[in-house]
Amino acid sequence: MLELSALGRRYGDVVALDGLSFAVEPGQVHGFVGANGAGKTTAMRIVMGVERADAGSVRWRGAPIDAAARRRFGYMPEERGLYPKMPCARQLAYLARLHGMPKAVARERAGAWLARFGLAERAGDKVEDLSLGNQQRVQLAAALVHEPDLLVLDEPFSGLDPIGTDVMVEVLLEQAGRGVPVLFSSHQLELVERVCDAVAIIDAGRLVAHGAVESLRRGDGPDLVRVDVDASAPSWWQGLPGVGLHRAEDGRVLLELGPEADPDAVLDAARAAGSVRHFGLVERSLAERYREVVGDPREAVGQGR
């Protein structure tokens, strides 16, 4: 298990992390979501030891992380980078050996990962001669080649085409399947919702929501009911106990039903107001949940830390 506890980091007056704590369980695909500048990259860099924390600590399997433990981590930095003039296979084997693999095993794993990504024929080509998509694949292979105990991937899906995305999802699930905790950051909330077991949402360096995707989506907020009624009085729902307007949607309304609200009473009121075309409980998406805890998700689209 990877535990981040009370991590703090400042750059001058800018607070990047402010008491961030959460844990990633073995075999868990764990999403890491937040606006640009929320502190995701800083937190991941601290886990990987390439950034210092001002406060707090990171523990791995219950102990502070030493060099030997960290050598068993796999990392994909936000800014991708490989030796551009070094052939793919030699490069992967070199990185595997830096991570402590014996020479023969390192070579074998490098070849196997290239084959897995359909790059067996490009093994002798320099990285700079590959297409961007293929460079991304080699970058992923670089994070995986030493069969890591933990995966930390910063924006692994950015810049991937749909097929690349599928391959990435497949690999993340497969790694989690062999018991590896996988922590990755992303702005693609639908993808996070689809792939992750758990998600941490951070804002301004603080954890604002954390938990299993299912419970996170439901949240502790009111149920939402979408009603489409051919009503002469637009505010037919007013006065019902525990009911408020969440959003008006072009003739339809999205109502918030608090704990004291009675859905049957709402339906009755709707029928009394006019002819009901639609009445249904709305499943909230992670994006909607995100908007509730952070703000407008449109700000979260794009690149950056």
Binding site: M48, V50, R71, Y75, E79, G81, Y83
Partner: protein
């Protein structure tokens, strides 16, 4: 294999396979071979052929011959011509290089060789003096004594013999090679550091090994490539020197080669540290040239110092520069080739260089650790040093 070894091995293999390195090796061997060949073809132009038109000219030629024998110049071959016209014809046809046609007149096709001109003047003077002495009525048996000068050379220096031509040649070649290699391989270190920052691969690597291990491996690997080239130059140079028949290999050649190798290692270590610090603080290869300029100026100054020492290896200035860590790598081989430089001086120079290295290493390691992950913009050395104190360590 440890992390430092793996990093060094990568540098050795990737750079050793590069075209730049292979071409450099071929060029070095070819240049030395051509140099030897050229010295064989051009170094011995044969005797200067003198056409003499009369007895007076013949006497002049004989005096010149004696003088040349004394100063060790290229010999002359005397061709007797019937008269001035015949002598001139020999020069025109290229049968003779010069014609002496009496009254101190010299005919040449394209000028008198530089080395010969003052000697011809002296020979003429000497003949005139002989005539004058004879005209004074000095008995013939006394004439030689009147003309004989006497010169006794007493060596008051500590050294038994002055450096000969061959050892000066060796010293010059060694210093030029050292200078070039220190610049080339030092810059490879700086460039390698910046390339890792620019390509962003450094974050992947530093999440596995410490910055100090990465730096040490890089300096070691590139240094070994340079050492290979030093050995190549030394080997080809010594072989060329032995092959060139007109230059006798200087005594103590082996010692000089050993000195060059030792000072390559120390000089490279010192300058690689300076280059590493300059490479660490920039983020783009384009910015490296200006950042590395101060270090290149220092090497250049050391090279000029070594040229000064080559002119006068026994001077006090040369003795001092043989001890200063940044000039010693280029000055000690010169003093060694000149037969100067006691074992004590060599040991003192090495000790000082090692001490300087001991001071430089932790500072550069800290600058590197503080700067290597700052992949944007340029830091000052001071900033890098300061942030190096709390930089993460692997």
């Amino acid at each position: 294999m440890g992390a430092v070894g793996l990093v060094a091995l990568r540098e050795l293999i990737e750079r050793g396979r590069s075209k730049a390195f292979l071409i450099a090796n071929v060029v070095i061997v070819l240049a030395i071979a051509l140099g030897v060949l050229a010295s064989q073809l051009l170094g011995d132009p044969g005797p200067t052929r003198l056409a003499v038109a009369d007895e007076e000219a013949d006497a002049l030629a004989r005096v010149l011959e004696q003088q040349l024998a004394v100063v060790g110049g290229a010999p002359v071959e005397v061709l007797e011509a019937a008269d001035a016209g015949a002598a001139e014809a020999l020069v025109r046809e290229g049968e003779a290089d010069l014609a002496l046609v009496g009254d101190g007149e010299v005919l040449a096709d394209g000028g008198v060789p530089r080395a010969l001109e003052p000697l011809l003047g002296l020979a003429a003077q000497s003949l005139a003096l002989q005539d004058a002495v004879a005209d004074l009525g000095v008995p013939s048996y006394l004439q030689p004594r009147l003309l004989e000068g006497s010169l006794t050379v007493t060596n008051v220096g500590e050294d038994d013999e002055a450096p000969d031509e061959a050892s000066a040649l060796v010293a010059f070649g060694a210093v030029v090679a050292l200078y070039a290699l220190l610049i080339i391989y030092g810059q490879w270190v700086a460039q390698g550091i910046v390339e890792e920052k620019q390509s962003r691969v450094v974050e992947v690597v530093v999440s596995t090994v410490t910055p100090t291990q990465l730096l040490a491996g890089k300096v070691l690997g590139i240094g070994l490539l340079g050492l290979f080239q030093v050995l190549l130059i030394a080997g080809a140079g010594v072989a060329g020197l032995l092959a060139a028949t007109d230059v006798a290999p200087p005594a103590g050649l082996g010692g000089v080669v050993a000195l060059v190798l030792a000072w390559y290692v120390l000089g490279y270590a010192l300058y690689a540290m300076l280059f590493a610090a300059t490479g660490a603080v920039v983020s783009r290869v384009e910015d490296l040239q200006s950042a590395a300029t101060p270090v290149i100026v220092v090497i250049l100054a050391a090279f000029f110092a070594s040229q000064f020492a080559l002119q006068d290896p026994a001077s006090t200035a040369a003795e001092v520069m043989a001890l200063v860590p940044l000039t010693a790598p280029l000055v000690q081989p010169i003093r060694g080739a000149a037969g100067l430089g006691s074992p004590l001086e060599v040991l003192a120079g090495v000790a000082l260089a090692l001490a300087a290295l001991g001071l430089l290493l932790p500072v550069v390691a800290r600058v590197y650790a503080g700067a290597v992950l700052r992949t944007r913009g340029r830091l000052s050395l001071r900033e890098a040093y300061r942030s190096g104190s709390d930089a993460p360590s692997g």
